[in-house]
Symmetry: none
Subunit: 194 residues, 4 copies
Amino acid sequence: MTKNKIKEVAYRQLAEKGYDRATLSSIAKEVGIKTPSIYAFYKSKEDVFMAVYKDLLEDYYSYIKCVIGKIKNSTVKEQLYEILIGLSHYHLTQPEKTQAYTKLAFFLAPTLNSEIQETFSEMEKDLCKLLENTFASGIEKEEIKNQPIEDLIASFLCLMDGIFLELIYYQEDKFKRRLEQVWSIYWNGISKES
Amino acid sequence: MTKNKIKEVAYRQLAEKGYDRATLSSIAKEVGIKTPSIYAFYKSKEDVFMAVYKDLLEDYYSYIKCVIGKIKNSTVKEQLYEILIGLSHYHLTQPEKTQAYTKLAFFLAPTLNSEIQETFSEMEKDLCKLLENTFASGIEKEEIKNQPIEDLIASFLCLMDGIFLELIYYQEDKFKRRLEQVWSIYWNGISKES
Amino acid sequence: MTKNKIKEVAYRQLAEKGYDRATLSSIAKEVGIKTPSIYAFYKSKEDVFMAVYKDLLEDYYSYIKCVIGKIKNSTVKEQLYEILIGLSHYHLTQPEKTQAYTKLAFFLAPTLNSEIQETFSEMEKDLCKLLENTFASGIEKEEIKNQPIEDLIASFLCLMDGIFLELIYYQEDKFKRRLEQVWSIYWNGISKES
Amino acid sequence: MTKNKIKEVAYRQLAEKGYDRATLSSIAKEVGIKTPSIYAFYKSKEDVFMAVYKDLLEDYYSYIKCVIGKIKNSTVKEQLYEILIGLSHYHLTQPEKTQAYTKLAFFLAPTLNSEIQETFSEMEKDLCKLLENTFASGIEKEEIKNQPIEDLIASFLCLMDGIFLELIYYQEDKFKRRLEQVWSIYWNGISKES
DNA sequence: CATGAATGAGCCTTCATTCAT
DNA sequence: AATGAATGAAGGCTCATTCAT
């Protein structure tokens, strides 16, 4: 289906060149159609990239839900570690998605339509709820030191953000080593037996 | 001096709209000159933004050196905390600089001329050296648990990166609260008395 | 067809003003379209004039082949004279073509794409072969003094070149008189009965 | 003197790139001054190239007068041959001058100011007078067949034009051979003993 | 003399978009 | 569903020229 091909090419070029440089004509060329044909499927350039962004978010959302699902029965330590690993894995195996995501986030950000905004905050909420449960059970099971759950969540999210940035900056090898170092310090910080 | 005014306007528009949308004509208009006049001072659009980037980096560099200078005689805990606060303060008080910086980093990144690359890696080296000393002395003075200094540095840099990202995403109030939460967890993680 | 109209206007303006002064905007204006529309048919200014040049060459080539065809059964004297007259006729009746041709030759010369180069040398080769036959038969039939055919060709080509230049410099009347004078001397020089 | 340096650079760039591409700024750069400084010596771009053209013509004129002076006491055959050789020598030894000359002739031609026009026709007149004398004496001395002097002049000028064009097209070696061939045929055509 | 600053005009080109087919 | 033709808007850039210093 041409409509999907357009979206895919758009997302690939977005990752590579950013919104402004991912021209409709360069997208059309890669798809193998003429530029005006795009308008048979999308009503504007913004429309194309809105679709791209929505897809990207949904893909990420479902991946995260999947990761969360898999770790239900592990220890807290394993759970948190798996989240970080899952997150890294997602970006490491499909760096183009990450790049596209980043670029859209930086460029469309102020214009984000409400539907997308919603998906985004829903995602964050889900993740927070999960972390809340995880940390609560960690404290209960005495895997984790007793401390404000809100703080724990904030620090874990910050950890995720830092890791995300380093994902972009560093090569895979270097990144993986850093991830281990960072995780080890972090876990020592919150765990009881430290 | 018009040359500087151009640079300043360029940096402001870069922060606001990004490289592609910060057109020479819109810059000229804001400066109050005609577009071709820009070419009396810079030989191309890229040249203008190279200058902007260089300035940005140097400004940041000198700020960081300044922060580092101020904290020489504090405890390790204070030192680390001051670095985070200093970093945050820089970005919070001049968010435009941060945004400009971010946008240039994403766009010029692969083309960065060598001079800029150098300033950048020099900056990182300086910071690493400082952290190395700080952590080493922290371990020696038994403020910090004995653990690989390299790991400590990695985790602190990751913390900084995470904070940097949240600086962009969150409003100042929310950010400051999160910073405290994150710092508290982090320090607990590495300090001895925890 | 707009594409052809563009080419024709381009060639007329080239003749009149030369490559640099034949701007795309002035061409578009004369064609009755807006400048960017040109890009629907040609991918650059150079591309437009490449097409012009190619046409010009082909037109000239086919004309020359036609002249050559017509004179097969004449005496050698008539043949040579007809070539000069044919050549002059071509340029006199369509001076714009000559001027366009001249201007492109001077401007694109070093950049001439290979296809054009080929047409050009093919044309020269054809003409040389014809002259060779003509002169050979002239000597055989004793219309022409026995002398190196190569020299005869060289001198005839030089004659053509000289005539070509004078075609540009002089008014038609003056030119025609000079042509007769020059031809008479030339023929006396090579013919037997002189 | 800067004024002369400007003129020289202008002429060199004219030869290389033609009028439109020989920008004042590129001239200034090569001279080692800033563009507006040119206006201290010439009142416009056209003015600069007018001066160039005038110089070129005068230089050529004086050279031709010199050639003419040297051949006063030779045979007619030698005289004519020397003119051709002199002409060729001038262009072969300073091809830049020829190119500049050609380009200006093709581009300024319709605009040539009257002073230059005058020099030009004066030059032609001088040359014609010389040829008239030469041919008259050639006929008198029976070196040349008796034929209208006007025709002889026309054919010799045409020969010169043809040679001039070939000077531009062919490499020096090839050109020299062709010159000999052409001359030999030409002389045979007009001389008595043929 | 020379130049720094500025500019109006204009060039080639690209882009998103429309519309008739 | 697709495209050829066309375009308004704009972009980066160069040029000849002016003018105050």
